[in-house]
Subunit: 211 residues, 2 copies
DNA sequence: GAACAATTCAAATAACTGTTTGAAATATGA
DNA sequence: TCATATTTCAAACAGTTATTTGAATTGTTC
């Protein structure tokens, strides 16, 4: 081969970009092949069909984003609850506002949430649930007893929701603020806010059950 | 006409349902007309083209949802901050989990967020920004001075995010919990949690600037 | 360099898309 | 009832889709 990337690799990368932008159905084999500088028949030759490429794209996107922005990277020596939440928010916010390949995973997820495909069941099982268990353990361990499991779930949703909102409201953000990018300082400030706000929220929830 | 609904009205209602489920691009004129029990050419006759029907659908959906679940309905006599937040969360949660026609607006919004069309600019201007100003005024009035405007925005996003998350994560929720519905009691409990959690979060934010 | 496998390519296929057309059917008003 | 306007309809149009095909090209191995 004359290039350092195989056609198969180029197709996966191009598929990531196109699927993330348009979702499974609106992404066409034609434009993916064009972006990958491959022939129109390349996908069917290398992957069998569009759906199998989509599976490969998901695996690739998750692999990149979870290694680039792991959710427990920036933890100090003896982490407290707030450190855990900050670490989680830091990773999610960075994934969302990443403009490199590592940023495509949240975009793929957004597409899948609005137009689910058969791939969603596998993704939920293999990727999303395990990831949310990080937060679950942390929140559950930090709250004192007597708080019903259902309420713990709601607290998790409050924290996840604050982060995920920036993924799902992206088009609005781009229409209010001119640019779609976010500086490193802004990302850290946002993660700090979410950690602080959530700490207050957890405290208020706790207090409901101790008074 | 033999029916109590005109073809035009039936097309708008069918368009609401199909566009909300599949988004603008994946919704086909053919299936909308089939659901409306109209001929394939009916949309082009009554609206000119698909895009103009989409505009009408948005107006209809917003009209229904905003009159069925206004964001300041359940306010007590002398409302406090928590009452305002509860009222906001109550309305948004009910809109999201409504299975009638009033529930189609959040679904349309979800589709538009993942695959924006030309309609989004108008919707953002006419509908979304005015609606978020309700929260903005409330939060801004409740927090004491010296809190930078940027931080107030983040607090608003924290509250909105907690609510909107349930719109965008719907497919996951349906895969964890068996059913997509939510009882009235659960909705109120969720709104109470968000109000309580957010009060704690606002308090924690406030405290950062008073210490 | 020859023999073979792997890959790329342009063209064709069948199915679907939004839209247009002109005739048929229905409703309206005198 | 008749003339007119409105609405419905099946058929056709041009464009796009994912996939298939078989030949041409490239790479690999002996």
């Amino acid at each position: 081969m004359n290039n350092n990337q195989t056609t198969k690799e180029k197709l996966i990368k191009a598929g990531c970009a196109i699927f993330a932008e348009k979702g499974y159905r609106d992404a066409t084999i034609s434009e993916i092949c064009e972006l990958a500088e491959a022939n129109i028949a390349a996908i069917n030759y290398h992957f069998g069909d569009k759906e199998s490429l989509y599976d490969e794209v998901w695996r690739h996107a998750f692999s990149i984003t979870s290694s680039t922005y792991p959710i427990d990277r920036s933890l100090p020596e003896a982490p407290e609850l707030k450190d855990y939440i900050y670490s989680y928010a830091f990773a999610i916010i960075h994934r969302i506002f990443c403009e490199e390949e590592a940023g495509l995973f949240p975009k793929l997820l957004h597409q899948e949430m609005s137009r689910p495909t058969l791939a969603l069941d596998r993704i939920a099982q293999e990727v999303l649930f395990p990831q949310s268990q990080f937060l679950g353990k942390v929140v559950r361990a930090s709250l004192e007893q007597k708080i019903p499991e259902e309420r713990i779930r709601l607290c998790m949703h409050s924290i996840i929701g604050q982060c995920a909102f920036f993924n799902f409201s992206r088009p609005l953000r781009e229409r209010v603020i001119g640019k779609k990018t976010m500086s490193e300082e802004e990302k850290e400030q946002l993660a700090r806010h979410i950690a602080s706000f959530s700490m207050g929220g957890l405290g208020a929830t706790q207090q409901e059950y101790t008074s």
